[in-house]
Amino acid sequence: MSAPDMGVTLFIAAFGLVGIGVLGIVTATHLVRIVLSIVLLETGANLLLMLSGYRGGAAAPIIVNGVLPDAMVDPVPQALVLTAIVIGVAVQAFMMTLVLRVYRAYRTLDIRELRTCIERDLAREAGIPLPTSEDAPLTPLVNEPGVGGGGP
């Protein structure tokens, strides 16, 4: 009986994909890599959903030559995953359009460079000093009225 072993393998694969995806989202500094991490995370979630409908020794929910199999796996998670994949593709395409737009505006996809660029532009457009945090070394800017120096 190899079903439990297969289950463990598939669960490891699903959680591994989820883990790699979350790790990529947290640590990657390149926007395209973050998008790819979200794709991996989605794949892991879909695999997990598929596993929830599995039954030991059951056939795929398709009737071949009019013969109804003894046991068929749950078709509802499969339909849900079909929906999830399509919506995932739509969201990925939209993310890529935003990434392209960001690249056109700033000529970089490194989020650390993007942060300084965007904060600089925001500060210039709004006419406010660059944002600081409570932990930053005290400068005269922090004490000016109307400066969002972290905290309410």
Binding site: V18, D74, Q78, L82, A90
Partner: protein
């Protein structure tokens, strides 16, 4: 340091998920809805592919919402990317081998896509999968010849008509069957091409809509000038 902390966090998350999964009874999940559908779907809907009966009969309203999300994403993509300038510089055409291969692939991909769509209620496949193949069929020639102009208007018309056909089929189900998107025309002979009532029509609409939408979206991505003129 931050990377190590993230790694530790992921390891903890995976461990937690794995412990929860260990508590589950793998392969014997209690799924009364799924078993009920497996029992009832062949007689009620008549599609050999039960996933298709779930997608287009029991959860057809969700599929309509899914199409709406796809439409919203494609529209938003077009909105963000904008229209290319008419005099925008184009990449030169690819070499002879790639152009000939694209010409050869176009009819084959079209055929495979339509086959997958039409047989969506009999075999694994259907409107979404076949629609993506159709989109690839229209995108491969564009990759081989970036200079040719992609006709967005025609694709938008196909997409709108397909979406309207889906909703009209649903409204006909409301008038003649009593429920929105109720399958009509009876189950028919299981396993034949003309079975499962209006499900093949719905999948045709889905396939054409997905194909036209994705082709248009990918073409917009390809036309976009990433470098400011």
């Amino acid at each position: 340091m931050r990377d190590y902390l993230s790694l530790l966090f992921i390891a903890g998350l995976a461990f937690l998920l794995f412990i929860i999964a260990g508590e589950l009874d793998f392969g014997n999940a209690p799924m009364r809805v799924g078993q009920g559908i497996n029992q009832a779907a062949p007689g009620q809907v008549g599609a050999a592919n039960i996933v298709t009966s779930v997608v287009l009969a029991y959860r057809a309203l969700d599929t309509l919402g899914e199409l709406a999300i796809l439409f919203a994403a494609a529209t938003a993509g077009g909105l963000v990317l904008g229209r290319p300038r008419p005099d925008a510089p184009r990449d030169p055409d690819a070499g002879f081998i790639l152009r000939t291969a694209a010409d050869l692939l176009f009819p084959l991909l079209l055929l495979v896509g339509l086959f997958v769509i039409v047989h969506g209620h009999l075999t694994p496949g259907g409107g979404f999968q076949g629609g993506v193949i159709l989109a690839a069929a229209f995108f491969v020639p564009l990759l081989a010849r970036p200079g040719t102009r992609f006709r967005h208007t025609g694709f938008a018309v196909v997409e709108g008509l397909a979406g309207a056909a889906f909703i009209v089929t649903g409204l006909l189900g409301l008038i003649y069957g009593g429920d929105f998107l109720q399958p009509l025309l009876g189950p028919g002979a299981m396993g034949s091409l003309l079975s499962a009532g209006t499900l093949p029509l719905l999948y045709m609409a889905v396939g054409l809509k997905v194909g036209a939408e994705l082709a248009g979206l990918i073409a917009r991505l390809a036309e976009f000038e990433a470098v400011e003129p």
